[in-house]
């Protein structure tokens, strides 16, 4: 008798799971197209900040070149082209900050000069480390126009480490991580420059990356 009751409870619970599971499937069907659209919009917005509209006539979010490194990482480069010629590349690079990864979107022109850099996400201390956001200060804007060589590689550090970039009062680890992330991003670009420049607009491609450390 008691095993029969257990069975009934099981069946009731099973029926509820089935019903609410179906509800979730329905909601998912209704929302998934919009969610995918929003993700593309998000990407376009962050790309827009590092690649000026004036230098490309293609869709940045879909013209990508995926670079596979020998460590098995994949770096997705968004390539901007104008009249078929590559005018810039944007990709994500990251550094490890005071509390977790800091993700930076970096835009680079064919000469290796920075078109723009923006912090995409971070978990740094509010009020101290968050001055890396463009909303909280113009620190990140000072990277625009710089490249490896201007300043020289050994100056790509915060001032405290003998470099040329300002740290913040009370926060050195955060800017140090961002400077390192951008420097490594530029080095990655230099190593893969030939492959990136051969990009043909209008299709998604995947190639193996050259040696050199990939931005994670």
């Amino acid at each position: 008798m008691s095993s029969q009751r257990t069975l009934i409870h099981g069946l009731i619970l099973g029926a509820f799971c089935l019903g609410f599971g179906m509800l979730l499937v329905l909601t998912n069907n209704f929302t998934k197209n919009d969610i995918a659209l929003r993700a593309v919009e998000d990407r376009q917005n962050s790309l827009k900040q590092v690649i000026p509209d004036s230098i490309h006539d293609n869709n940045l979010a879909t013209d990508t070149l995926t670079l596979k490194t020998d460590q098995g990482n994949e770096v997705v480069a968004y390539v901007s082209t104008k009249e078929g010629k590559v005018t810039g590349v944007a990709f994500e690079t990251s550094g490890s900050g005071y509390s977790g990864a800091i993700k930076v979107m970096l835009g680079v022109d064919p000469e290796g000069k920075i078109l723009g850099a923006r912090v995409l996400s971070h978990k740094e201390t509010p009020g101290l480390g968050d001055k890396i956001e463009v909303k909280k200060g113009d620190w990140i804007l000072r990277f625009t126009g710089l490249s490896i060589g201007n300043p020289p590689l050994d100056k790509w550090k915060v001032k405290k480490d003998g470099g040329q970039f300002d740290q913040f009062a009370g926060a050195t680890i955060t800017p140090r991580a961002v400077v390192k992330a951008i420097r490594e991003g530029l080095q990655f670009f230099d190593a893969n420059k030939t492959k990136l420049m051969e990009f043909k607009a209008g299709k998604t491609q995947t190639v193996d990356a050259e040696t050199g450390k990939a931005p994670k």
């Binding site: 009934i8 409870h9 009731i12 619970l13 509820f16 799971c17 609410f20 509800l23 979730l24 909601t27 998912n28 209704f30 929302t31 919009d34 969610i35 929003r38 919009e41 998000d42 201390t125 509010p126 009020g127 101290l128």
Partner: protein
């Protein structure tokens, strides 16, 4: 059986307020209140989940047995949270970017669960919906108040980024109360959450005592 909506509203908003009386759902109440806007957003999302899940539980309350009610409650709350999560991601994306990380955490918030066990599983749909709604609004008010105090003392602003949450029409809410760089940083960090929540509890007790309607400290008054 209370189906007096006035009582339900008063309980949810003040006498039996989720945060300030029952002290439930303190984790999101403290983690998400470093600004008034964040508190408001988290409160609204929780209120939506509470209203919907209370009504659903109440509709199905005669169809499940006592033995499996807890898993069914969890199932219903988790489903509503997931639906809210997906809908917000699709149609309220700006808000989702601010709150997205915290929406799944509503599943483990004690407050919806407690109200369902105490109220919705025993009452018909409309009073349950009202209870879920007013409890949710009470939760929202408490979170917004904690957020406002922390934001003013910590960063000197009030309702910053409210236009991201509510739309450009609410730009007027954003204001700077204290001059730049005068805030006490600690108030928007975790210790500030404990301090302000404690202060809020004190203030509520004092008001209750003054109006001679003191509620016993922990004993949450349960609806029949």
């Amino acid at each position: 059986m209370t189906t007096d909506y006035r009582t339900i509203a008063r309980e949810g908003l003040w006498t039996n307020n989720g945060v300030l009386s029952m002290m439930l759902g303190l984790c999101p109440a403290m983690a998400m209140t470093n600004s008034a806007t964040n508190g408001l957003g988290m409160g609204l999302a929780t209120a939506a989940v509470m209203t919907a899940s209370a009504m659903l539980v109440s509709i199905f309350r005669n169809h499940f047995s006592q033995e499996v009610r807890i898993p069914v409650f969890v199932l219903i709350i988790a489903t509503t949270v997931t639906i809210v999560d997906m809908c917000m991601n699709a149609w309220m994306h700006e808000l989702y970017k601010v709150l997205g990380l915290f929406i799944p955490l509503i599943v483990v918030n004690c407050l919806p669960f407690a109200r369902i066990e105490m109220f919705a599983s025993k009452q018909s749909a409309l009073p349950s919906l009202a209870d879920g709604f007013f409890m949710g609004v009470g939760f929202t008010l408490a979170l917004t108040a904690i957020g406002a105090v922390r934001e003013i003392s910590g960063s000197g602003t009030l309702f910053s980024d409210a236009s991201l949450l509510l739309g450009p029409a609410f730009k007027f809410l954003e204001m700077r109360v204290l001059p730049e760089d005068t805030g006490i940083l600690m108030m928007i960090l975790p210790p500030g959450a404990f301090l302000v929540t404690g202060l809020m509890l004190v203030v509520k007790r004092m008001i209750d005592e003054r109006s001679n309607k003191a509620v016993p400290a922990i004993a949450a008054h349960c609806a029949p």
